[in-house]
């Protein structure tokens, strides 16, 4: 029995490993073949991949509709911006700090609302995202710079000899972070915690009745998702060298939401595809900028109708949007 299983694994893995190496190869060669503009496009693809992965924890794994994820992203970016420009803390030191700040914010804000179900939670998270954005515009304690934002953010550096300041370096920086995130998330998916998350998505009452502390695991998903969004915010802030509230609008939350839905809820390769679609779409449709949103909306509707499981649904344990909506109905 053990033998057949191993041989099954082998035959299953080798083509997969092959594609994995091919994809890795393309990622390494790409920046040397492309010009700076296209390297930057790939950088933003990386940012969206990281954001998609972070929302995927909350939306894909646990089935919680979070439409305020840009709020966490903003907290990460502003933590970096403020601490760097006002106190001169190095960007790389701020990487974990931003993650912790966003995670702490998520913990405080989500603790009282975590018991809300389905659409109610969705509405509260929209409010949360908007409150964050409006607070930033209102310039509390003269820290956030109001609508203009904060500028003059440093490059990430270690001493003076290792400085990330060119497009190509940023490209590798973000994709290495994305790579480690993917590795960690795959391990989480195949663990007790990943299973608990999926159980909650499938049937909250049954999960609770089988010894899963639903509240704890929902909060963990939010906190972890926020921490990853905070990291994305840190890298984004240092790349653009300035942050302003308009980068963290409701539209940004919607885009992250679409990344997860397009790719397939709970599917890591799906999220990468979704991020590619969202970040490359505006580039491809640049000539018809006026019709961009029209086409985008149509594509989303068609997706929901004909492929609710996403472009690359998880092979096992994935869920499509319809079944998640059904769970809301079942749980009342």
């Amino acid at each position: 029995m053990e033998d057949t299983r191993i041989s099954k694994l082998n035959s299953f893995f080798s083509p997969q490993q092959g594609t994995l190496f091919a994809v890795l190869g393309i990622f390494v060669i790409y920046p040397f073949a492309a010009n700076n503009y296209y390297i930057d496009v790939a950088f933003f693809f990386g940012i969206y991949a990281l954001l998609g992965l972070s929302l995927n924890i909350v939306l894909g794994e646990v089935g919680l509709f979070d439409l305020g994820h840009a709020g966490f992203y903003a907290i990460g970016a502003y933590t970096t911006a403020i601490l760097n420009t006002k106190f001169g803390v190095p960007i790389l030191v701020l990487l974990p700090v931003s993650a912790i700040a966003a995670a702490l914010f998520a913990y405080l804000v989500c603790s009282p609302i975590i018991h809300l179900r389905g659409d109610y939670l969705c509405i509260v998270t929209i409010g949360m995202g908007e409150i964050v954005r409006l607070s930033l515009i209102n310039n509390p304690f003269d820290l956030t710079g109001g609508p203009n934002g904060v500028f003059g953010i440093d490059f990430p550096s270690l001493g003076s000899f290792f400085v990330i300041d060119s497009s190509i370096e940023y490209y590798f920086f973000i994709w290495i972070v994305v790579g480690f995130s993917i590795l960690a998330l795959i391990r989480l998916q195949n663990s007790r915690i990943g299973r608990a998350w999926n159980c909650i998505r499938e049937d909250e009452v049954a999960a609770n009745a089988n010894g899963i502390n639903v509240r704890h695991y929902k909060l963990l998903a939010f906190v972890l998702g926020a921490a990853m969004a905070g990291i994305a915010g840190n890298i984004y802030a240092s790349k653009l060298m300035c942050v302003s509230p308009e980068s963290f609008s409701f539209m940004e939350s919607c885009l992250m939401f679409c990344i997860v839905l397009i790719g397939g809820m709970g599917s890591i390769p799906g999220v990468i595809i979704g991020a590619a679609v969202i970040s490359l779409f505006p580039e491809i449709f640049r000539p018809f900028a006026m019709y961009r949103m029209l086409i985008f909306g149509t594509v989303m509707i068609l997706m929901m109708m004909f492929r609710p499981g996403g472009a690359w649904p998880r092979r096992r344990g994935g869920a499509d949007i319809k079944s998640v909506l059904n769970t809301w109905r079942k749980n009342g």
């Binding site: 049954a206 609770n208 089988n210 899963i212 972890l224 079944s323």
Partner: protein, 271 residues
């Protein structure tokens, strides 16, 4: 009261004392006393709306009672959260099967082992040796349980794709994987055909030999009479009778609760 002596042991594994649960103006459970003794199959029966499932929901922590207490293994567990009660040793199944439909059968059972594990987020990300050992243990327990209910062949199928009867067994296996002392089954035979019901009865009997106690809500009188060591009858939220299955079966109060009462008999004073 002499009947109490006929029960298998004196040791109660689960006790409800003066349990009361009110929904708005409706008293669903009213001063309900009951005992499930160790190593027995105790059935809770009663007409529709008698409050049986409410008792289960209170016992397993889904509802908080207005009054009274639930004592499990000598410990007061009233008002604990459902997941705490599961870790404490009471596992349950639902009247309308509640599996995790988009997860495989094996993953469903592994979910039952969740409360016995302790690996955290960092342990899972860094794959510590302790986490790996625990994960292996979870898998072994789940595989043993899936063998036990005869679903080994469908271990990799999604739970929503297996037959209804198999889903019932899978739900019981998932409950068993939480390593409970008491198994609370809410109408396990509903929707099963006669031969599946027969298999279920044999299976439940075999569980008692494994040292589980079973608290059962059941409508199928063949099952109740066939496997129960003790039967408690509920009507309108209160206990109206209890005893060995044969005795309860012939109890006029029970017959009355099920069939309604006969006016003529009352008038003639023949009851």
């Amino acid at each position: 009261m002499a009947e109490a002596d006929l029960r298998t042991t004196d040791r109660a594994i689960l006790e409800t004392r003066k349990l009361t649960k009110v929904f708005g103006g409706l008293t669903a459970v009213n001063n309900f006393d009951s005992q499930v003794r160790e190593g027995e199959i105790c059935s809770l029966i009663g007409p529709n709306g008698a409050g049986k499932t409410t008792v289960f929901n209170v016992v397993t922590g889904i509802y908080k009672p207005e009054n009274g207490s639930v004592v499990f293994n000598g410990k007061d567990i009233t008002g604990q959260k459902p997941h705490q009660i599961v870790s404490g040793g009471i596992a349950r199944t639902f009247q309308n099967i509640r599996l995790f439909p988009n997860m495989t059968c094996l993953e469903n059972i592994m979910a039952g082992q969740h409360c016995r594990g302790s690996a955290g987020m960092w342990g899972s990300i860094f794959r510590t040796s302790r986490q790996k050992k625990e994960e292996r243990h979870i898998r072994e327990v789940a595989e043993a349980r899936i063998h036990q209910v005869g679903l080994w062949e469908s271990r990799d199928e999604l739970a929503k794709n297996i037959a209804y009867g198999s889903q019932r067994m899978l739900e019981i296996a998932r409950a068993l994987a939480t390593e409970p002392g008491l198994l609370a089954l809410d109408e396990p035979s509903s929707g099963l055909n006669p031969s599946e019901t027969e298999e279920l009865m044999v299976f439940l009997k075999s569980l008692v030999k494994e040292n589980f106690s079973i608290f059962l809500i059941e409508h199928d009188m063949n099952v109740v009479m066939g496997i129960s060591d003790w039967v408690i009858v509920m009507d309108e939220g209160a206990r109206i009778a209890e005893g060995r299955p044969e005795t309860v079966y012939n109890n006029p109060k029970v017959i009355e609760a099920y069939l309604g009462y006969d006016d003529d008999q009352q008038v003639n004073g023949e009851s």
